[in-house]
């Protein structure tokens, strides 16, 4: 269930993006944080404990809202705007431990 609830400004154009591979909708002018948290209940998992995180300050101070795109980009979700075709991830990367991609 969504974490954020829309209470105003709902007449904006719909933007289409994907969240963990599934199609999702947001509104033009949403931040990535708003787009993700009106469709889900977290932005990412903490690198160390795997606990869910959903941002905290919404004003670029806490740095708790860094999310990944499928292309590997990292966005500060509260300060970036959603755009059509974005492919955002709230899962993955750390997979519980620190052994991820790569090798050697």
């Amino acid at each position: 269930m969504a974490l954020l609830q829309r209470v105003a400004e709902q007449g904006r154009r719909v933007v289409h993006f994907t969240l963990d591979g599934r199609p999702a909708e947001a509104l033009e002018g949403d931040t990535v944080l708003t787009a993700m948290l009106t469709n889900g209940e977290r932005l990412r998992r903490s690198e160390f404990a795997g606990s869910p995180r959903a941002g905290f300050c919404l004003m670029g101070a806490c740095q708790d809202c860094w999310v990944r795109t499928e292309e590997g980009e990292r966005l500060r979700a509260c300060g970036s705007f959603i755009a059509d075709g974005m492919r955002l991830l709230s899962e993955g990367e750390w997979g519980g431990g620190l052994s991820g991609e790569g090798s050697s």
Binding site: E47, F48, W66, G72, E73, R74, E93, W94, L98, S99, G100, E101, G102, S103, S104
Partner: protein, 381 residues
Amino acid sequence: MRERIDCDVAIVGGGIVGGSAALFLRQAGLSVTLLERDWCGAKASGVNFGGVRRQGRPLEQLALSQRAHAIWGRLPELIGTDAEYVRSGHLKLARSEADLASLVAYRERSRGFGLDLEIIEGEAFRRRWPALGERAVGGSLCPEDGHANPRLVSPAFARAAAALGAVVREQTAIERVEKDGGRFVLLAKRELAAGELEVRARVLLNTAGAWSRRVADAFGEAVPLESLHPNMAVTEPLPRFLDVNIGVEGGGVYGRQVLRGNMVVGGGRGFALDPDRARPQRDAVLTLMRDAAELFPQLRHAHVIRCWTGVEGYTPDRNPVIGPSRTTPGLYHAFGFSGAGFQIGPAVGQTLAELVTAGETAMPLEAFRIDRFPPAPPDNP
């Protein structure tokens, strides 16, 4: 009021060199006073890159470096923490055939010291480190080299010395040293306590890092020592892609990924704010990021979350000064590590302890004599 301490050995500077010397001297049963202007291990020893590397050192350092290697292997027993030390291996990359040839030549020259260097190239190299394969033709691996967290290691040496009974005084700056007959007399200004501190000792160790010149000068041993500031940056935590400490033949950028996933990279130089403090320099930071992203494409989308530098003493020949004073019996110097004293630091401390207790050491120190430089103009602050 003036507090007085009498002891066998006074040590000026509580970095990894002074801290380990204190520890080994206590183990030998001497009374030791360690004096540190800041906090022990807060200067170069606590802010360095964390590379615990023998590979690539000049041959004259390798005996000490091997000795240090053994000490690093016993960290928990010695200082009560592993300080995130891992023997990850140190891989020196060759970007060209010529660089690879010089790595091969180094392996030949350093044979017999026990580094067990392994040259890996071509297909084998790419298979072993696919994450690096495209940017190097090959590399030289020192499998038992590694890296550690300097913020944890260096203070721990002084702490271990204190636990064995060394008197450790932090926030205590030595302002004056002289020799009064058979004893050294040190006067210290204290930040945390009222009044002066006077320390009298039979032996004096000058392990004051980039600031050692002041002590050397006081005994008529002016040495050319320059402060420089290696530039460091660390990224946010990233999924593990690198399990070796990386250097590049010919210099430039170097990097290691810590267990928590952060990538620590170094290269370029910062600038001095004053003789005690330095800052990363903007162009160096941006250049370092560019070079690091080129070497490690995994950093393409990553962010640097912190940059820093430190104050390190460099000598003209980039070898340290280690050994007895040539003017003053009972005085020993160890400084000027020129950007590479973290790994050998503990062995230098142990060697100083030997010199003090036994008057001699098996370690070859000839290359590190203080009188190898033409005298520098004396210091006038």
